[in-house]
């Protein structure tokens, strides 16, 4: 049974290699192969989710090395949840991609599948250096995907994206080096034990490495002040890639959540509650900065990228409360925001295509949209979800986060920030909608095309959001169980270190 843990990595990776061997031709075969692989990965992920739902922590040690020496994959509720979320988002982004965007350059299917490999690996691994390796896999494919389709804007932001992440990788390695030198281990469960035993002589070393680690994760998540690379990259990349990238920032969020609960948490000697005092305020500042960015954006995709950042700020504020209720609310909001942000990037692409190549998605008067009703419904529906208005799950998520903040010392700051930024982003969204859909001339842009099959993945993502809303009760019970499992570290540590 535990051997299944390797499949979310193995299926996309092997299929990616096969598509690479197929060369530049055989597009249809590659499309089918990739689709089947992603669907299979989703199936395995969903099965792993059901396996983890009972609260059991499953481990898979590579080569059966005795712990803590070998590399280990660990499946708990959080990993299962993130894997399944990745599968769902990737499936819809892929369906959108094979309606046309995958013809803009070579090796798209390979890159897309390898990206999923990297993301899934990051969610499953229980070893810090292995996490670095999976980060590199997802980054290297992301570097290529950012510039996929070419064009000046993509090349420019691609360069900045590569440079900042290369620097991030170097910092990650330094942090890993110091942690290994001090504790003699890189197994995350073992680190949770060893950090508590670090002597006073090494206190500064271990704290410095811990801060470095958090900085690296914050770059991935796009926290203030490390987010400046994000909006322009995400606004420039091809739509299905942007949709898939909605999960990339969540890898950073996941890493922060995992590390703060597992080894930077309470009773950890010199790294005890290391980031906790800063996480919540920084998340709120991120939220404010992101929403100001959304208000001042001059095109829809930039606005979408800033709204993505705002959602990161909101969920990290919930995690920063560091209570079961806060983490549970943030996880529910994470599910919602990942799917809905994916949908928003796809909708932005449709709007951009139907307004023609002259104005695209800029907030200026332009030609009439070819299918105003369809796109209008998509746009309205998606933004209701993104902004967290009732009745969709975004509202439930935000309400839960706010409810979790009650009675914490941050209640006033959090309520004020979250509610005011919600209002501001509503203004931004209203401005976007009125300009794009109503400030139009009567002429129809002849070069625009109908949505066709491209509306299918968007409708699918929106249907998932509706499902999140309908099944909010059971899902919330699951995220609560997840949060409790995260805060209760002992079973995680013992099931990894005592695994046969």
């Amino acid at each position: 049974m535990k051997d299944l843990l390797i499949l979310p990595i193995l299926i996309p990776m092997l299929t990616a290699m096969i598509t690479l061997l197929m060369g530049d031709g055989l597009r249809n075969a590659k499309r089918w192969l990739g689709g089947i692989a992603i669907a299979a990965t989703l199936g395995v992920s969903a099965y792993l989710l059901s396996m983890s739902a009972g609260g059991e922590i499953v481990t898979y040690g590579f080569g059966d090395w005795p712990m803590p020496f070998g590399i280990v994959f660990v499946l708990d509720r959080l990993s299962g949840l993130m894997l399944t979320l990745t599968g769902v988002l990737a499936l819809f982004a892929y369906v959108y991609a094979i309606t046309g965007p995958d013809t803009k350059g070579p090796s798209f299917h390979f890159l897309f599948l390898m990206q999923i490999t990297g993301v899934n690996g990051s969610f499953l691994t229980g070893d810090l250096f292995n996490l670095f390796v999976f980060f590199e896999i997802l980054l290297l494919t992301a570097y290529v995907l950012v510039v996929y389709g070419s064009g000046p804007a993509r090349t420019r932001t691609g360069m900045q994206y590569v440079f900042i992440n290369l620097l991030g990788s170097s910092l990650f390695l330094v942090a890993i080096g110091v942690i290994y030198a001090v504790t003699g281990t890189l197994n995350m469960a073992d680190l949770a034990v060893k950090f508590a035993q670090v002597g006073a002589a090494d206190a500064m070393l271990v704290r410095a490495s811990a801060y470095l680690l958090i900085v690296v994760f914050a770059v991935k998540a796009g926290l203030f002040p490390l987010y400046f690379w994000l909006p322009h990259s995400y606004a420039a990349v091809t739509a299905p890639v942007a949709a898939l990238f909605a999960i990339m920032t969540k890898v950073g969020v996941y890493a922060i959540l995992r590390s703060t609960t597992l080894f930077f948490g309470p009773d950890q000697g010199f790294v005890e509650n290391l980031v906790l005092p800063y996480l919540l305020p920084v998340a709120l500042v991120t939220l404010v900065a992101a929403v100001l960015g959304a208000v001042s954006a001059t095109k829809l995709r930039t606005m979408a990228a800033y709204l993505l950042l705002a959602s990161i700020g909101t969920m990290l504020a919930g995690i920063g409360l560091f209570t079961a209720a806060g983490i549970s609310a943030s996880l529910y909001y994470l599910l919602h925001s990942t799917l809905i942000m994916g949908a928003l990037f796809l909708v932005a692409d449709l709007v951009s295509a139907q307004r023609g190549p002259d104005v695209r998605d800029s907030f200026v008067a332009g030609p009439k949209i070819r299918q105003p009703l369809l796109l209008g419904v998509f746009f309205c529906f998606t933004l209701i979800g993104v902004l967290g208005l009732p009745p969709l799950s975004g509202f439930l998520g935000k309400a839960q986060i706010l409810a979790a903040a009650v009675a914490s010392p941050w209640q006033t700051a959090m309520w004020a920030t979250v509610l005011l930024t919600s209002l501001l982003s509503l203004v931004a969204a209203g401005r976007a909608g009125t300009t794009l859909f109503w400030n139009t001339s009567d002429t129809l842009e002849t070069r625009s095309s109908e949505a066709g099959w491209k509306s299918l993945p968007i409708a699918g993502l929106l249907a998932c959001v509706v499902l999140l809303t309908v099944f909010a009760g059971p899902l919330t019970r699951f995220t609560e169980a997840t949060a409790n499992q995260l805060l209760e570290r002992t079973p995680y540590i013992s099931s990894v270190l005592e695994s046969p």
Binding site: L140, M159, G177
Partner: protein, 111 residues
């Protein structure tokens, strides 16, 4: 006599200093060079994490003195990844020069 530790520490320091200076430049080639220097420094740093010892085997029990071989394994991985990344960064910088017509990191002259 200058110690091994001093040489190691100072060379890492010099590499990082030069690297940081270079990545703050506005043209792509110095930035790529700076990133390369920093990755060299990081590799040396990782290597020294197993403690600096001369003439000690990486095997437990063969001698009283031994050295931890794991950081060397980590360095090997880091070198390979770093090498691939540098190759990609250079390719991208060349592409940017072709597409954008200049070699500024912001993609525009005088920005």
């Amino acid at each position: 006599m200058i110690s091994y530790e001093f040489l190691m520490a100072s060379s890492i320091g010099v590499l990082v200093t030069c690297g940081i200076y270079l990545i703050l430049r506005s043209r792509t080639f110095p930035v790529v060079l700076g990133l390369t220097l920093i990755s060299y420094a990081v590799n040396l740093f990782l290597f020294s994490m197993g403690r600096l010892k001369v003439g000690a085997p990486p095997i437990l029990g063969a001698q009283a003195d031994y050295i931890d071989p794991l950081p060397q394994g980590l360095v090997l991985t880091a070198i390979v990844i770093g090498f691939a990344m540098t190759a990609f960064a250079i390719t991208l910088a060349v592409k940017a020069h072709v597409v954008l017509g200049n070699d500024h990191v912001d993609g525009q002259e005088g920005a």
